[in-house]
Symmetry: C2
Subunit: 550 residues, 2 copies
Amino acid sequence: MATINKSSSWKILNTHFEKTKSIHMRDLFSKDMNRFKNFHIQYEDFLVDFSKNRITDETLNLLINLAKEAKFENWRDRLFAGDKINFTENRSALHIALRNRSNNPILFNGKDIMPNVNKVLNQMKEFSENVRKGKIKGYTGKKIKSIVNIGIGGSDLGPAMICKALKPYGTNEITPYFVSNVDGADIAQTLDTCDPESTLFIVASKTFTTQETMTNAYSARTWLLKYLKDQEAIKNHFVAISTNQIAVEKFGINKENIFEFWDWVGGRYSLWSAIGLSICIYIGMENFKELLEGAHDIDNHFKEAPLNKNIPVILALLGLWYINFFKFNTHAVLPYDQGLSLFPSYLQQADMESNGKFIDRDGKKISYHTGPILWGESGTNGQHAFYQLIHQGTEVVPSDFIMPIHSHYSIGKNGNEHHKILIANFIAQTQSLMMGKTNKEASLELKKQNLNQETIKQLTPHKTFEGNRPSTSILFNKLDPKSLGRLIAIYEHKIFTQGVIWNINSFDQWGVEYGKQIAKLVLPKLIEPIETSGFDSSTNNLINYTKKNI
Amino acid sequence: MATINKSSSWKILNTHFEKTKSIHMRDLFSKDMNRFKNFHIQYEDFLVDFSKNRITDETLNLLINLAKEAKFENWRDRLFAGDKINFTENRSALHIALRNRSNNPILFNGKDIMPNVNKVLNQMKEFSENVRKGKIKGYTGKKIKSIVNIGIGGSDLGPAMICKALKPYGTNEITPYFVSNVDGADIAQTLDTCDPESTLFIVASKTFTTQETMTNAYSARTWLLKYLKDQEAIKNHFVAISTNQIAVEKFGINKENIFEFWDWVGGRYSLWSAIGLSICIYIGMENFKELLEGAHDIDNHFKEAPLNKNIPVILALLGLWYINFFKFNTHAVLPYDQGLSLFPSYLQQADMESNGKFIDRDGKKISYHTGPILWGESGTNGQHAFYQLIHQGTEVVPSDFIMPIHSHYSIGKNGNEHHKILIANFIAQTQSLMMGKTNKEASLELKKQNLNQETIKQLTPHKTFEGNRPSTSILFNKLDPKSLGRLIAIYEHKIFTQGVIWNINSFDQWGVEYGKQIAKLVLPKLIEPIETSGFDSSTNNLINYTKKNI
């Protein structure tokens, strides 16, 4: 295939871009009273309003043509068929099987994998119920009150984000903790708040060799043994999510307490697998299944909805339009829900680890932009911080505004005062980013404040807003397990769609591997007594300086 | 003044850029064994290594010339002299007075403001000591065990970040909470964990009208009165940091429990003022003063050090070099310390609210790039997420790596195993980002794995790293109050320096004000019974849809 930026649909898009790039959304809205109607998708209780984007009907059609020219539909079929599309690791990417609630067979190397998926789900069900009911106890017979998930990256971000988001569904009897950073502060501060007799550690590492995770796991093990003084206690207080049975057993964990997952589950898609065990224990298996249901719904929507009504596809194409044509290289995710405050961090891995690539599937260096820098914080907090730049900076930041219409918390006047203010802020931001405030409007406002002519003239430009800053609004009924499952799957498939069009392998992560490799070279240098000299002068000096001062 | 990008020093820089932009740092290091020596600054226990940046001696000289042509030194003098450099609000920016531990007079409108600064510091000292000692009690006579800071933006991010960072210095007797989001979940979840009889609320709002803060404060007040059933209890459980005495007293707070601050303290510089009360209570006044000392040290360094040995100036110029010449428009802050995990969010406000501006001081639209999108997460977590993009994405992300050499936590083998691994990862990342891995190196590695020729050829490009990705390393001894004060002040002055060169007012925030203004227009529409039609079709539909479904 010719590189995508040499394709005819790309060239047509480029011409269209040059023609339309300066159009203000204000004018698009005033000319077309049906703009909202034409540019929104309602899927069940999900409303995706993408009318506040710098597109016309033609833009959308041309973008869809681009997706087709990139053989998107074919790649989507290959994803669902379990083809080894992660070719640099010779693996499939079958996270869709983990939430395949239809239970229709999914073949991998000619064999249906659903029985195995269901087997592990049943193991998770039984184990989590037994922990919740107090049947599984600590070594001294105490009920489990704290679960500590020790993992990093995909073995941490998903479960941590979800347990925070679904706190209203969590049991009050068990507190979930997440330890990821190798910085001793992370594990030490967590252990400080836990009682060894009632703490269960979940060690989540596919290979059971991840440096950060194993260092934390061994420190947790030392702590436990210091109190309980019997190696046998490890069996009661540690379980593993791993494929490395030998290493797990060597650690002291019972074979029955190993939860399996598979090569075809990528780390950043693993929350749907046994890596979700902490979620299961905290919110219960029924709720965990709802989460899977939600993702499965979106899998079907992604497979079946026409491209112009397909939520992940539309989000992907909008992103591509901004990244490759406008050259806006960041993307903000702004959840108007405190529960979703970890969602941007979660998506940073999902998106940037998948599409932060500069080599295409054919091994050629890419000459167009790929994955954006994804960032964000929960609104309204962000409004009082970085929104200044989104409104008046020299960079345009396309943003996703995400909000449940109902809150779990009845608080303030009429029980929903807080939430109404939150909604008002959400809508107001998308409105003002789009409309802006003209010089004339700003000047008029200042006149009403009875300022003198000179001050008005001086202040007006500073109170002027260009507007035309794009946003997409994603609303749904309530932040429940099913909605959250849907929301995550929407972004997963968005990322996949972009990766297909950019012709990259969204499923490997050699940049992460490289960092691990070098760290292993540096560590012994920090320990050996002689001065280091084998690296560049900066690295040598950093090593020798820390060695001298530690 | 001519706009800065038309200045002669800018033009010279541009020529220099065109000549040097493709040079690989690998080659700079191999040619110059003294590169580290020439490109690092040691200030007390702070080591700033900026040798892994895409600069030469000449670059640095030319950048310093640019700062001089922008009259940086003159603006710095004006900052310290209390000139009203925030001209759109007719205000000074005198946060340096708040930490002026020399106590030398600082004049504002011809009057020394230090006596007032010290008066409030003494009030904070007395109050915080009395809370810590249990002399200030709840309404029913119980000792205060929880403090809840209710504020948003500058009244939240600084104190929350610092209390997390300085946890090893915090008292175990009192837990600090921070409520900012108007989403009811934030206050509701916090109240769930507090006992009304032993909780002190600190309401932090300069005007005492901030919508989010006052909504949360009134919900906290309702909760308290529900339990304590006496309006008088408010006096024991609420204090205010505000300038609006009338509104505070109307709320029910005692006049003596109002902590003052001044017009010349910008929100994002307010942690050094009474807004730091929660910090004071948590870590004690002696430690709070150390924090001020640290910032004061850097104020002096910033004022006195020659520009080429001036940490904030160097960081500012490096940023400018990347933003305005390379057009790298984001900047990552990567603290290798779990305690600093909120530091990137804190800096998002400090930086993006200050320099996210497109109008210069003369009221003209700017034709060059200003403030970057600042983002980051604590390492090693980020390594397992978005570092993939930093290593192999199509965007280059200049990054600050920040790390204390000593940990507060003795854990793992020899008591410092965790910290050694952390340090190894830190150094390894800066090394590999700079060096990269050539095609030849990647191919050689694959050969050692006994793969066939075709596979090696296919995989090599994916395992190749271009390197030449810039980073600055900031090391210091330990994350104590003084170091943290220094670190924050370094960034404050960096941001100021960039704002000066970009010729913008770094001290206003009209983008934030605008959002507040529109939210007040939308809120009544969510309440009135008739359909809304006064906005664009997207905004109308979002309002009507939520109204119908809430």
